[in-house]
């Protein structure tokens, strides 16, 4: 669970997560936006379906992988949110699509 410091000037960026509209802040990474919105777990593992959420926030652990604008298994902590971005969480093994 996370909250935004009150002094932060609001600059809302609206993204969609699993079809649901979520208000993020300009400058957030996708992973930070998911954590701020309380949307955990952010994935289920391909090995056992175990629930996971971002752990290191610096591109080392790969727990934060999500599908962003149709591209699967992107590290959410390295991608800044953009207006109208479509994020889908991944449950298990990813789909392949042309």
């Amino acid at each position: 669970m996370f909250r935004r410091l009150p002094e932060i000037v609001q600059r809302v960026v609206t993204i969609t997560v699993d079809g649901q509209r979520v208000a993020a802040q300009e400058g957030d990474s996708v992973a930070a936006a998911l954590l701020a919105a309380g949307l955990t777990p952010t994935r289920l593992t391909p090995v056992s379906g175990a629930p996971r959420a971002p752990y290191c926030m610096m591109g080392v652990c790969f727990e934060c992988i999500v599908t962003i604008d149709g591209v699967a298994n992107r590290q959410g902590c390295l991608v800044p949110v953009r207006e109208a971005m479509q994020v889908t969480t991944i449950a298990g093994r990813r789909e392949l699509a042309i």
């Binding site: 669970m1 932060i8 802040q25 957030d28 777990p41 290191c56 926030m57 652990c61 991608v79």
Partner: protein
Amino acid sequence: MRLDSLRDTFDVAIVGAGSAGLAAAAVTAGAGLATLVVDENAGPGGQIYRAVTTSPVKRRDILGEDYWAGERLVADAVRSGAAMLDATTVWSLDRDLAIGLSRDGSARMITARRVIIATGAQERPFPIPGWTLPGVMTAGGVQTMLKASGLVPAGETVIAGTGPLLWLLASQLVRAGVAIAAILDTTPRAAYLKAAPHAAGFVLSPLFAKGLALRREVAAKVRVIAGVTEIRAAGFGKLASVTYAAGGRQETLPVDNLLLHQGVVPNVNLAMAAGCQHRWDARQLCFVPVLDADGLSSVPGIAIAGDGAGIAGAWAAEERGRLAGVAAVRALAPQASAPDGQAIRQRLARHEAARGFLETLFQPPRQFRVPPSDDTIVCRCEEVTAGTVREAARLGCEGPNQLKAFTRCGMGPCQGRLCGLTVTEIIAETRGLSPEVVGSYRLRPPVKPISLGELARMPASAAAVKAVVR
């Protein structure tokens, strides 16, 4: 800057825009060498100065002046004329100094006459039961959320582990108004005695007074439990509680956020994949590159600077970056002007004076490096437990590479970043070998995932085609 508009070749390519990378860039670009700085983040600063140019946190006292000093480093690098390429992954580096870059779904190669690897450090793995539950994060990760997004933990928050960063983060959170339920300090009481012989060096360094003040500030407002010897996180599908043991008693605390930290270790994947020789450091308890006095590795033309060369903190990283930059200038443009190496080494020595004390005091206890309970996950990606690793070691696995074959441990996307050190130490302990002999995962590019499509679209030589189509 678009990837395909980038030049094919640079004098100096620097991987990582943190302390060391920025300082090196200012030196080499300042001497007139064509310099490229590449970082996978959306802006310079690395981890310590994460988001220093874009942070929404305006109150300077929350993050502290040491953080804001990063602004100057970035400004110097930019002003010197270095080309800064952000949001770009370096997925490959080889002995010929060919560098594989990937940005926005497209990949290409560039070359350089010299490469400085400044990939810094990562958090040391902290394998406790339940560490994979949503709600458990690294202290560094939470610090990044604060710096880059002004986000702080809400609900019941516990910090656990050892090391200076633990206290720094705690002080930052306290100043930001976060109520921390407890700090579970795993520093063994014996460590203070063990570190005492190094105290003279530490007391003289600027870190001493700072560190002391931080601890006092935090201890005045937060419950600190010292001498913690066991920690388990628990919950169904997400973190709900943490149980600890200290001084013979046990307690369970309800918790929403558990922040773990037991020091940082060099981020070695790119350097190892490039073929740079590494050795086991028995005091830092991790693999560090084998380097000469200028930071040059065992691969000609590749230097390593900053925490990636061995943990020594932000200021030391800057100076080592400068030294690597000076060495590059001497090699590529000996007539050009570069800062005085001796002055840099003197400053470096001052910053490194505290290391003996800090490394001894904050050396993570064995039970948090080698999980005693068999059901603790060691490889998060492939969900391999400590018990499985131990059993494979008993069956005859003498090293991490054979272990990979037996258990898939280390075969996931993180490529051993979160399990490597744990695996080396478990095998060492089980088979009675030294970690140096046990070794580490044999790493190869891509050191970060790259899509088949990106790779497929890269140009190939006739010889390569002949080797495949037959």
